[in-house]
Each structure stands twice: as C-alpha cells, then as structure tokens.
C-alpha cells in the first residue's frame, strides 16, 4: 500500500526514539526559550518533510498559542484567572517538546516497526513484550472506561460506589484480555526462543543521519547556553 513512498518519507524508529531522548534532554536542561522554539520548529519541519502537514500545522499553532498566552495574555489578565491558568500553561509548555516528539513517533511508526527496532537494539524479549502490550493497551483502557461509564449511567449507581463500579469491571476485562491475548500470541509462536525474523527492514538512511545530527546540535546548544 505504502510502497510508493519515497526514501525521504521513511524514518527509522530508532531515529524517532533518539529525537525523543533529545527532547527530554532539552526539557531537562531548561535553557533559553529560543532553543525550545527552534526545537519545535525543527520538529515541525520533520513533520512537513514526512508528509504530516495537518499535524505540523496543528502542533505549531498550539505551541504559538501557548507562548502567546504565557507572555502576552496572562500577564495582562486579572489575577484570579492568572493563578488558575499559569500552572496549566506552564505544564503544557514544559512538556511540549517531548509531547510533540512522542505524538510524531506514534503517528509515523507502527508498533511492529517499533518492536523491530527494540529487537535490533538488543532489548531483551522479556521487556519488549510487556512494553508493546502496555502501549497497545492504553487506547483499550480508554474505550473500556467509556463503555463502563455508559453502563453506570444506565443503572443509576450511587456516586459512592462509582469508583468500585469502574475499577472492578476494568480489572475483570483486563484479566480476560490478558488470557485471550496470550492464547493468540502463544499460537503465533511468541514463546519460540529462536531469533525472530521480519519482512520489514529498518536501517539508517540519509534523513536519519541528518535529523540525528541536527537534534544533537540542539541538545548540545541546550547544554551550553544557559
């Protein structure tokens, strides 16, 4: 389906992971705002090159909006609003570089590629399986909670019992999922000790090296400039 895509639009999952780690370091060093802005623009550019136009526009605009809020709107706003929102704005701005890199990774990398990359990085199988299950199970939790809430509404449950009424079905369905998933996975040979092969091939190409290098420059910049 996607075989026509040019080489430029394929990224190695490891590059995305690297970008994520760089984003982490940049957040950690907390250097000047300009590095952060540059980093956001850089990520936006990668998104554009990868053909994720809507995503790039959405994230850049959101970031711009947050900056606008923090530096222009909030200082001018009444005090009651300021205290309530400063925290929110701060948190989201602080998490933004990582969030953006993470969202990008989730969008362009399939879980299968990610598992392949983890295998290539020689992460033990005992860690790869639970991690991939965990990542895959997050959306399922959201769905489950949604269904459970609908059911709660129908049955008119007292608010004191609500927590129990959410957690217990969630646990039971989680256990059931674990059983089913294991049965399916064992059938497909998850317990086979032989090194697994894959049709998809991942390797570093020119864009990977380029993005990695620029990311490294940003990180070094964040480290040096205080």
């Amino acid at each position: 389906m996607k075989e026509k895509e040019s080489v430029i639009k394929v990224l190695d999952p490891r590059t995305c992971l690297m970008l994520l780690i760089f984003a982490n370091l940049i957040t950690f060093f907390q250097s000047s705002i300009w590095i952060e802005v540059g980093w956001i623009c850089f990520l936006g550019c990668i998104m554009l090159f990868m053909g994720q136009y809507r995503m790039a526009v959405k994230w850049i605009f959101t970031y711009g909006f947050i900056l606008l809020l923090q530096y222009f709107l909030l200082p001018a706003a009444p005090k009651a609003i300021t205290t309530a929102f400063t925290l929110l704005v701060n948190y989201s701005r602080r998490m933004f570089p990582c969030l953006m890199a993470g969202a990008f990774m989730i969008k362009v990398i399939s879980l299968r590629q990610f598992i392949l990359a983890m295998r290539k990085m020689r992460i033990p199988q005992n860690l790869i399986i639970p991690i991939s299950v965990t990542i895959r199970y997050f959306p399922a939790i959201k769905e489950e909670v949604h269904y459970i809430r609908d059911a709660i509404k129908l049955r008119n449950i007292r608010s004191a019992d609500k927590l129990e009424a959410i957690i217990v079905p969630l646990m039971i369905s989680a256990t059931a999922t674990a059983e089913e998933l294991s049965a399916a996975a064992v059938t497909r040979g998850i317990e086979n000790p032989i090194r697994k092969t894959s049709v998809t091939e991942i390797k570093f190409r020119l864009p990977d090296y380029l993005y990695g290098f620029i990311g490294l420059l940003f990180t070094a910049g964040a480290f040096v400039i205080k």
Partner: protein, 201 residues
C-alpha cells in the same frame, strides 16, 4: 493453569499480563501525577493516593504472575514511559529502581503467593513514588528557585515553602505505607467480593 511455582521463568502469558496491568497502573499513577500540580499538599500525598488506588491492579498482577521479575518489569515499564514523556528526574529514578528491587526481593523471600508478602512488596513498591516530591527536601533552595524560574505561580511556591518541614517529610514517607496497606486490604476485599466469584484468580 500454570501459576503454581515461583521459580520458572516468565512465559509469554506472564509477560502479557504484566504489560496489561502496568498500563492500568500507569494510567492511575499519571492521573495523580497531574493532580499533584494543583496543590503542593496533593503532591506530597501523591504517593499515598497512588498506593491506595493501585492496590487492586498490583495485587491482581501478583496473584496472576507468581514468578520472579513481575514487580521489576512493572517498574521498568512505568519508568520508561515517564522517561519518554519527560517527567522523570534523577531522584525519582533512583528511588523507583531501589523500591522495585526491594519489592522483588521481598516477594522472592516470601514465596510469591502469601498475602502478607505481597503486601510488604507493595509497600516497598509504593515508596518509589516518594522520589517525585523528594527534591523539595534534598535540594531545597535550588529546587525552589528552579520551579519559580519555570514560572510556577507564587502562591504555589509559598505554600510549598511552608510545607517543606521535617514533619512533612515523615508524612511523605508514611502516606504510601498507609496507602499501600489500605489499598491491599481493599483489594483483598474486592478479591473476595468479586474476583474469586468471577473466577479470574
């Protein structure tokens, strides 16, 4: 069901079970992490609240996977996800790793299947989250100036200053212990009330 021995290595099924319960653990953990931003007191009590509510998933995982490595894997996954979302500091990394190893050791010594052993392991595991507010005491001045630079509202910081007494440090460590005990007792009750009836343990 092959969940009797405490010695065998983790099989595919165990790994999947750990993965699923880690996801639930992480979601509950994350919700309280965010709520900690609302008020400093919430932040200090956060490990306690997390322990209180994650008792059920933790205990359920323990009863399903009675083998070595379950607690460490759960901790590693939580740690890794927090790391990629940029919310981990060095302090929490250390406390988290220590608490996971401690929890695993307790489970291994207690033979994996007893309620008391799992309870003790859960207390150890819950103590790991204390690393999040711990920098308030460890590097008080630097920390305060750092978060005020980040633009935390002045009110939050002054409340935090008031709360950073040695007595509160005790509260910080007592909260997860009490929370873990309460959480385990609740989960025991839930086991009897629901899970055994439903035939899942």
């Amino acid at each position: 069901m092959a969940q009797s021995s405490g010695k065998g290595s983790l099989k595919g099924k165990d790994l999947i079970t750990i993965g699923i319960f880690s996801a639930i653990y992480f979601v509950i953990n994350f919700i309280f992490m965010l709520m900690g931003g609302l008020h400093p007191m919430m932040w200090i009590l956060m490990p306690g609240f997390i322990a209180l509510l994650t008792g059920i998933p933790f205990m359920l995982m323990c009863s399903k996977v009675q083998k070595m490595g379950a607690v460490i894997l759960m901790g590693t996954i939580t740690g890794l996800i927090y790391f990629v979302t940029g919310m981990f500091t060095v302090v929490i990394l250390v406390t988290f790793a220590a608490s996971c190893i401690l929890g695993e050791a307790v489970r291994s010594l207690s033979g994996y299947s007893t309620f008391k052993g799992n309870l003790l392991a859960f207390i150890c595991f819950s103590l790991g989250m204390t690393g999040s507010p711990l920098p308030i005491w460890l590097m008080h001045d630097k920390f305060i100036s750092q978060i005020s630079e980040q633009g935390m509202p002045a009110e939050y910081i002054t409340t935090l200053e008031k709360l950073s007494s040695p007595a509160m440090l005790l509260v910080l460590f007592l909260a997860p212990v009490i929370g873990a005990i309460a959480g385990s007792l609740i989960s025991k009750k839930m086991f009897q009330k629901h899970f055994i009836k439903a035939g899942i343990v």
